[in-house]
């Protein structure tokens, strides 16, 4: 939801074309349409065929390779290969066009690390050849704070916030620098309703939240990093 909101915000505040992408799944077309956001879906098979086609300088050979049952099975058993190609496709597109922004609604923390580590891993695997040059280009792009901005969202629980900070550390280890952390779904006091006469359970929840913020502020400077 927050990624959709960001897409809408960027669309209304910049002159660039904004696309919403959900990586290896199809975006919710209905919600995109109702919010006036342009979805961008890059099916793995198409991305891979296009990429291999470019490398082999033949689209028809690439399509034939992709139809080969063994390669299909290989892509299934090594999903990070597909991740790297999809990521490469997104980066290619952005490198070619200065007037596009792609908001990538990423998978959960453990899996986005698999995606973002895929160029580094395949760099180790290939070592030489045409692909390595491409991988270096991808890494340069991802590590450039002018091109990539990452937002880590956590719900306000100890487990989620710790996971968010672990993710931040790992993204930094991968060379990403422009990272922002956000505490989402916060139940906080609001002027919309009376603060007096709140039922015990809401009062208890608000007090627990306050205690949580204080603890996190002391240990992790969370509030100063919240947006």
């Amino acid at each position: 939801m927050t990624a959709l909101a960001l897409s809408g915000y960027l669309q209304s505040t910049t002159s660039k074309k904004v696309y919403y992408n959900t990586f290896d799944t199809q975006p919710d077309l209905e919600i995109c349409q109702s919010l006036g956001i342009t979805p961008l879906y890059l099916p793995l098979e198409d991305s891979t065929a296009e990429y291999i086609g470019r490398k082999l300088k033949s689209t028809s050979i690439a399509k034939w390779v992709m139809k080969a049952p063994f390669f299909k099975a290989l892509f299934n058993i090594v999903p990070s290969l597909g991740n790297m190609i999809t990521l490469g496709h997104i980066i290619d597109r952005l490198e070619k066009s200065d007037d596009e922004i792609i908001v990538l609604d990423a998978p959960s923390s453990g899996h986005i690390l698999t995606v973002l580590e895929s160029p580094k891993n395949f760099n180790q695997i290939f070592q030489t050849g045409a692909l390595v040059k491409d991988i270096h280009r991808m890494l340069d792009f991802m590590q450039n704070p002018n091109f990539v901005e990452s937002w880590i969202l956590s719900i306000p629980t100890e487990l989620a916030v710790t996971e968010g900070f672990e993710l931040k550390e790992k993204l930094e280890d991968s060379g990403l620098t422009n990272i922002k952390t956000v505490l989402n779904n916060v139940l906080a006091s609001s002027n919309e309703f009376s603060q007096e006469n709140l039922p015990e359970f809401i009062d208890k929840k608000l007090k627990l939240r306050k205690k949580f913020f204080l603890k996190m502020r002391e240990n992790l400077e969370l509030l100063s990093q919240c947006i």
Partner: protein, 339 residues
């Protein structure tokens, strides 16, 4: 609720899968069952809940149940999945193959496949009355469920014949390539070589050879899918959360898992405020509005999932910040669910 050999907890991120599955494992221990709790989520929040160390990843660890207010006679073991550990166990020795080594790293991308093989290994050992599985969030739990099919297609008998033909380990990669020319797969490899360089193709053939040498272990993992689809063997819990607008996610999850689940499955609505909201007599219009808004959020999951034949269990919000204390309270809710 019948106790089974394996219980699977799935759901989107942030719904409380890890605390719920840990509480279930502790509850089953209290019933006198010997339980193994496995997390296959690479984020490994279970480590934080159980107080495990990074060094314990990949090894079965005995959990101090007294930390959760239970008597020490109860036995709970836990395993944080490590694809590398699982693969090394299968191969018997750590491999030097560059491709296998890289892909079996924590974020190398073979998490779900290795998870299937690890769970099957633990089932084969038959040391536990119940295995409780904490799965990765969202779409990745479907990847886990589909892993057996991916293994099956990779070790398809047609490929198998080709790779048996590749020959034994003593043969040098160059000779392997010569042999492949006559099988038709050489064309594919020639294209691959154009893009990746020759070194990769040799490593690739060696990796395939190593994996095919252990084909039987991989194919043994296929039993897991059949077992998971058997009502006598497994309970399924699709966990969703009432505090966020998770109705559509819950619906997607039910649809996506319908090919795998059987009649003993449950939609577990966690962090519910239902019972508190129903008892709340709001005293002014702004609070009435707030109550109605919160009730509306609560009921959206019920409405969206109404048409699906799945039993629903509601777990109330636990007013504790500490995950350990949350788990302790959730254990007592399982007592009432089972009774």
């Amino acid at each position: 609720m019948k106790q089974k050999k394996i219980e699977v907890f799935c759901g989107t991120g942030g719904v409380g899968k890890t605390t719920i599955s840990t509480s279930r494992a502790l509850h089953l221990c209290q019933q006198g069952r010997k339980v193994l709790l496995i997390t296959i989520d690479p984020a490994k929040r279970l480590k934080q809940v159980l107080g495990l160390q990074d060094e314990e990843t990949g090894e079965v660890a005995k959990i101090k149940v007294e930390n959760f207010g239970m008597e020490t006679e109860h036995e709970l073991h836990a395993l944080l999945l490590s694809p590398e550990h699982t693969l090394n166990r299968i191969l018997k020795n750590p491999t030097e193959n560059n491709i296998i080594k890289t892909l079996s790293k924590p974020y190398g991308g073979m998490n779900e496949i290795m998870a299937v093989l690890e769970v099957q290994h633990q089932l084969n050992k038959n040391e536990y009355d119940t295995i409780v599985l904490d799965t990765p969030p969202g779409k990745h739990f479907i990847d886990f469920l589909e892993s057996t099919r991916k293994i099956q297609s990779f070790f398809d008998k047609n490929f198998s014949e080709v790779f048996n033909f590749i020959g034994n380990k003593k043969k040098k990669p160059g000779r392997i390539l010569t042999k492949l020319v006559s099988t038709g797969i050489d064309k594919l490899l020639t294209y691959l070589e154009k893009v990746t360089g020759k070194g990769f193709v040799n490593d690739f053939l060696e990796a395939i050879h190593i994996l095919y040498d252990h084909r039987e272990v991989f194919l043994n993992g296929l039993h897991l899918e059949k077992d998971l689809m058997t009502p006598e063997f497994s309970n399924w819990f699709l966990v969703t959360s009432a505090d966020q607008l998770k109705g559509n996610d819950a619906q997607e999850m039910i649809k996506a898992s319908s090919n795998f689940m059987h009649k003993d499955n449950y939609l577990l609505i966690n962090k519910s405020w239902h019972k508190f909201l129903n008892n709340w007599q709001a005293t002014d219009p702004s609070l009435e509005k707030l109550r109605d808004k919160l009730l509306d959020i609560e009921e959206s999951i019920q409405k969206i999932t109404k048409s699906y034949s799945i039993s629903k269990i509601e777990f109330p919000e636990i007013f504790e910040n500490s995950p350990k204390k949350q788990v302790q309270q959730l254990v007592s809710i399982w007592d009432s669910v089972d009774s």
